[in-house]
Amino acid sequence: MKAIFLCVLWLTTFQVWGEVFPPDDVSAIDKPNDNGSAIILLWKKMDYETAKIFYVTYIATSPSGPFLVQPIQSSIINFKTDLPQSFGFAEDNKNWHALEITDYLLAGGEKKDMIEQNKTYYLRIGVKEGKDGNVVMHPKTFGVTPHGNYFAFNKLNNFLLFIFLTVVIIVFINLAKKNPNLFVRRIAGLEAMDDALGRATEMGRPVLFVHGLKYMHEVPTIAAVNILGRIAKKVAEFDTGLKVANWDPVIQQVSRETVKESYIEAGRPDAYKEENIYFASSEQFSYAAAVEGLMVREKPAANFYFGYFYAESLLLSETGNAAGSIQIAGTDAFTQIPFFITTCDYTLIGEELYAASAYLSREPKLLGSLKGQDLGKLMIIIVLVLGTIFTTFGWEGFSKIFWPM
């Protein structure tokens, strides 16, 4: 009897007659953990959903409208699972649609307006079968006002990791201040630096420093400028020439400051020549052409490439190699390391670039940072081993703690 009743019920629903019903449990919420520039429309996944079912949303800035129609959404996309930063990893997320709205089409359908914080928006939703089907509207309108959040809780793992690394690095900096002889393993390329500078002094030829093509505020360039300071100090002590070819005027100015300070530190401010730290070109290959020209004409005894490089890496290092210079490179540009390995005498791989300045200077701040980072790496190794073991045994909860949001 119950089976017959259910059968009749099913036959009278849309599966037979092609009717669709508006979604259940609809709500509009302010997107959590953001700056108030997005809202989310939520509704429960309907049992009858197929690829032919589409949802239509409407948005207005007043409860009485006008409601502006937005692009139709297929029922097979936009789930809570797509927004783990807002809804986490709950099992039930796959049963809920979540449409994130950051902007909306204006009347006419060509121009868009962004969602603004502290402004109330009114949303409506309808459903239709097929792109040309009739829209069946949900009877209610859902109002929502986006607000900015002071704290992005979805980035808590990022923040805690940052705090952990900061504390560890500060502790190690203090330890390094007490004991500046903390152990750092040998980095072959850096050991050879003195030899290269010595060779340049003996040959009476200059040293060339190139710091890649990233901007001044980016980490590889900051590391490169640190190393430049160390090299400049040695160059000043050895009374050798130093040429620094820059691609960016800001980097040029910072490099001038750094080199000048190194010369002063070495007690040779008179030997500092500002014109040797010059602007070559801002365009990648014209910069490469200018530096190549310098290499073949001035024949520097040693070339140092530290920073982030692109396709110019091989052009520069191959020319330097042909000019007979000793070459030491250090980069975290994964695609360019092979070219440096094949053409340079020594290459610092990836993080060795960042370790270099600490290794060279043995300054407590840099040394402590390096040791702190090592402890961070040890922690990551432990997390990876535990995460892999737990995942293998079927529990992903531990690894999810470290997933990016």
Binding site: L161, Y215, M216, V385
Partner: protein, 252 residues
Amino acid sequence: MEANQSNLKKDSIVIVLFFLALIVVNGILVGTGKLKFGTEGFGIMVAAALTIALYSFLYQDNPIFKMAEHFYVGVATAYLFIVTWYSVILPDVILAWKDVGGTDVWVTISKSLAIIVPTILGLLVYTRLVPRISWVSRITFAAMIGFGAGFAIPNYITSHILKQAKPSMLSLWTAAGPQWGAIVIFVGVITTLVYFFFSVEHKGSIGFIAKVGVWFLMISFGASFGYTVMARVSLLIGRVSFLFGEWIPLIN
């Protein structure tokens, strides 16, 4: 002095000969109708001349390369100036004032400050032209580096740690048997991390693990090298097809 003059004379002869050769070749091409006489044809002639001039470096440094190099550097600098003017100074410093103003005082103040503060920071860099007050420019550099480091830290933690950790914690064994891909990733990541450990001497078991890490690194560098060389070869093919396709139509 005499040697310099002799070199200068030699350089001038080489450049004149290069231009004469270009005039002859381009004259023949235009005369036979293989190259259009007009702005398009002139563009192809200039591009071909610069391509040959830059490739001449493969033989050795020469005046033709020097000429192309200086031309290239000059054009790039002029281009940077124009790009900076139209994409930074004009929209962000001059035209941006159009959007300032309105009924809300605080919005007006914040929009004004968003233009004034970066402009002042930019102008401070020019204090380097006056040695007595050149130290003021450090304020700008300190702001840039401070902003860069502060902005980079959370992004670095996300992209260099968390995003890398997620696909590294995979199941090594499923109902289908051992997951060799996951096992290789796991071993590769751990051993490579050990290689980048600076606090321990790479000796004994640590040395062995680090050596395995180096092998993983070298294999990935080899793959990357091959891939990039292929891309470079395709660039060379592009230039050769330009020279012998568009300029001198020897190949179809």
